[in-house]
C-alpha cells in the first residue's frame, strides 16, 4: 500500500527526497476498526492526512425510516457498540420528545445509573486502548477490561445482553431491576475507585506516557468549538460544555457533580479528563444508587407497538461518553419516521484529525487517533 507520491512537492527542493503516501488501515490494528488514514509523510513527519471512512456503513438511517419506531431500538445498540445504553437513551429521549411521553421517576434513575456505568465502561476501555496505541501491549488494556467485564455482568443480569442491551423504551425501561442488582451495583461503585487509583499509579505519572502524550496533538479551543467537537475532547481543550449541565435532561439537574476541564488540549489532557470524568461518574452513581425510588418503570400512556406520533419533529440529545449524541426525527404521522438522522459524536470529533496530526510523527498520529475515541460503528452508521 506504499507508493511514492507525485502530487506533493518535497518541502526542501534542494534535497533529493520524496514524499511517501502511506495508507494506514483499514485493517490496521490501531485504527480502532475499519478506518483508513491516507497519510503523506516527509521522513516520519505527517504533512497531510486524509481520514477515509465508510467501510462499516450499514445504512442505519434509511433502515430506520422503513421500520417502526421500536424496531430501530436494537439497531441503535450497534452504533457505538461500547455504549449501547446511552445510544438507547438518546433515541428514547428524542421519541419521547416527539410523542410527549415521560419516563417515570424510577426509570429516570435507572437510566442515569446505566448511562454513568456506560461512561465507566467506555472511558476505562478507551484508556486501555490509548495505552495499547502507545505500545503498552496488553497489560493496561487487560486491567481496564477486567473492570469493564464486571460492569458488563451487571448489564447482562439486567438487560439480558452484555453489549447489545436494547433496554430503554419510549416512556421508560423494558424491565425492572432484578433482585440484588442494586447491591451488586453499589458494591461495584465502591470497588471502582481502587481500580482507578491502581490504573493511575500504573499510567498517569509514567515518564514514557508523559513523553508520548504531553504537547502532542494539541487541539485549540477555538478550532474545537468551530468544528463542533463535543464531549471529553472539547472539555480537554478547556471549553466548559457538558450537555448534562447545559440541558439537564433526565434527572441530571438533581445530581451534584463537577465537569473536569483540560488546559492545553493535548493527548494527555484528553486522557486525564476522562479519568477525572470517571471519578465524577462515580459520584453521580453514588447519589443515584442512594436515592433511587420505587414505583413503575413505564409511562402508563406508552405502548409498545403501533406508535404513531403526531406530525412534527424532535431532536433529542444526550452527553454520551464520546460527546453529543443526538437523534433527529421527523414524523409525518405514520408508523415509521419520515426522517431519522443520527448526530454521532465520533464522526464529528474525527473531522479535526488532520489539524491535530500535522507536524507530528506517524507514531504520534496513531496515539492522537486513539485519544479522539472513535467507534467505527458510529462513524459510518
Amino acid at each position: 500500500m506504499i507508493a511514492p507520491s507525485s502530487s506533493v512537492e518535497p518541502a526542501e527542493a534542494g534535497l533529493a527526497s520524496q514524499m511517501l503516501e502511506v495508507s494506514l488501515g483499514p485493517q490496521h490494528p490501531s485504527t480502532h476498526g475499519v478506518f483508513r488514514m491516507d497519510v503523506t509523510l516527509e521522513g516520519e513527519t505527517v504533512v497531510k492526512l486524509k481520514p477515509v471512512f465508510g467501510y462499516l456503513h450499514r445504512n442505519h438511517e434509511k433502515i430506520a425510516e422503513n421500520f417502526s419506531y421500536l424496531a430501530s431500538m436494537p439497531y441503535t445498540d450497534r452504533l457505538d457498540y461500547f455504549c449501547s445504553l446511552t445510544n438507547n437513551w438518546a433515541y428514547a429521549l428524542s421519541v419521547e420528545k416527539l410523542t410527549g411521553l415521560a419516563a417515570p421517576e424510577r426509570a429516570e434513575y435507572i437510566r442515569v445509573i446505566l448511562a454513568e456505568l456506560t461512561r465507566l465502561v467506555n472511558h476505562s476501555a478507551l484508556a486501555g486502548f490509548l495505552l495499547q496505541d502507545m505500545g503498552a501491549l496488553g497489560t493496561p488494556l487487560m486491567y481496564a477490561f477486567r473492570e469493564r467485564e464486571s460492569i458488563l455482568d451487571l448489564f447482562e443480569s439486567l438487560t439480558g445482553s452484555r453489549m447489545m442491551c436494547n433496554y430503554m423504551r419510549f416512556g421508560g425501561c423494558r424491565c425492572d431491576l432484578p433482585p440484588g442488582w442494586l447491591e451488586q451495583a453499589r458494591g461495584l461503585v465502591a470497588r471502582f475507585p481502587s481500580f482507578l487509583d491502581e490504573f493511575e499509579a500504573l499510567i498517569t505519572n509514567n515518564e514514557i506516557v508523559r513523553a508520548r502524550t504531553e504537547g502532542v496533538g494539541v487541539l485549540p479551543a477555538k478550532l474545537a468549538v468551530n468544528a463542533g467537537v463535543t464531549g471529553p475532547m472539547l472539555r480537554a481543550s478547556g471549553v466548559n460544555y457538558d450537555i448534562r449541565k447545559v440541558d439537564r435532561y433526565g434527572i441530571y439537574g438533581r445530581m451534584s457533580f463537577r465537569v473536569p476541564l483540560g488546559g492545553r488540549g493535548d493527548v494527555f489532557d484528553r486522557y486525564m479528563v476522562r479519568i477525572l470524568e470517571m471519578r465524577e461518574s462515580l459520584k453521580i452513581l453514588d447519589q443515584a444508587l442512594r436515592d433511587i425510588p420505587g414505583g413503575p418503570i413505564m409511562d402508563p400512556k406508552a405502548k409498545l407497538r403501533n406508535l404513531r406520533p403526531k406530525p412534527g419533529e424532535a431532536y433529542g440529545r444526550i452527553e454520551a461518553p464520546k460527546g453529543e449524541l443526538g437523534f433527529y426525527l421527523i414524523s409525518d404521522g405514520g408508523p415509521n419516521p419520515y426522517r431519522y438522522r443520527v448526530r454521532p459524536p465520533s464522526l464529528i470529533n474525527l473531522t479535526i484529525l488532520e489539524d491535530m496530526c500535522l507536524g507530528h510523527t506517524v507514531a504520534d498520529a496513531v496515539v492522537i487517533l486513539g485519544s479522539v475515541d472513535i467507534v467505527l460503528g458510529e462513524v459510518d452508521r
Binding site: 430501530s72 439480558g160 445482553s161 505519572n205 506516557v209
Partner: protein, 196 residues
C-alpha cells in the same frame, strides 16, 4: 526523579501478578469450554416457540398472527398461516402456523419478537453453542426445531415464566367461568323459550 513513575507502575503490575495467585477476585478468566459460568436468568440468544402438553406441534401457542414477523428488526422470521384452526388454552379457535422459520444467522438476539408477542408464544432461548458446518440449512430453524416445552421456558426464565403461567391460569379460569355463565344463560333462555 526520572523513572520513578515507571518503577511505581512496575510495582503495580507485580502486585497484580502476585495477587492473582491468592486472590480469586483477580482471576477473572473462566476456562471455557471445560468450565462454564452459570447462566444468567435474563440472558437471551435466539427465540424459540413455546408449546403446552406433550405434542409439540399440537400444543404450539403460536397463532400465526405475524406480529413478530412484522416487528422483527432484521426480518428473520417467516410465517405461513395454516388454513386449519385449532383451539387454544381458552378453548377459542385460533389459527396456527403452517411454516414458522427463523433464520438464526440473521437474528440479532434483540428479543423484540418475545416482547411484542401477545400470546406468550415466542420466548428467548439461552443456547449459544450454535455453530454448524451447514451454513444455510443448519442455521434455518423450522417450527419443529424451534418448539420447546413450557417447562424449558420455566427453567430458563423463572420469574418471567412464573408471571406468565399465573396470568394464563387466571385467564383460563375466567374463560371457564364465562363459558359456564354463558351455558347457564343459554339453558335459562332455552327454558324460557320452551315456556308458553
Amino acid at each position: 526523579m526520572n523513572g520513578a513513575g515507571i518503577i511505581k507502575g512496575m510495582i503495580e503490575t507485580a502486585r497484580n501478578l502476585a495477587g492473582s495467585y491468592y486472590d480469586p477476585g483477580r482471576l477473572t478468566t473462566v476456562q471455557y469450554p471445560e468450565e462454564k459460568l452459570p447462566p444468567v436468568e435474563n440472558a437471551r440468544t435466539i427465540p424459540f416457540l413455546v408449546y403446552d402438553g406433550a405434542d409439540p406441534m399440537a400444543g404450539l401457542r403460536c397463532t400465526a398472527c405475524t406480529i413478530c414477523e412484522k416487528e422483527c428488526p432484521p426480518q428473520c422470521i417467516y410465517i405461513v398461516k395454516d388454513q386449519v384452526k385449532k383451539p387454544d388454552y381458552l378453548g377459542k379457535m385460533q389459527l396456527q402456523p403452517k411454516v414458522f422459520d427463523i433464520d438464526i444467522s440473521v437474528c440479532m438476539s434483540c428479543g423484540i419478537c418475545a416482547e411484542v408477542c401477545p400470546f406468550d408464544a415466542i420466548k428467548m432461548d439461552q443456547v449459544f453453542e450454535l455453530s454448524t458446518d451447514d451454513r444455510f440449512g443448519g442455521l434455518l430453524f423450522d417450527k419443529t426445531k424451534l418448539a420447546k416445552p413450557n417447562d424449558y421456558f420455566a427453567k430458563l426464565h423463572r420469574t418471567e415464566a412464573g408471571e406468565t403461567d399465573a396470568r394464563r391460569e387466571d385467564d383460563k379460569r375466567k374463560a371457564e367461568a364465562a363459558a359456564a355463565a354463558r351455558a347457564a344463560a343459554a339453558k335459562e333462555s332455552a327454558l324460557e323459550g320452551s315456556a308458553p
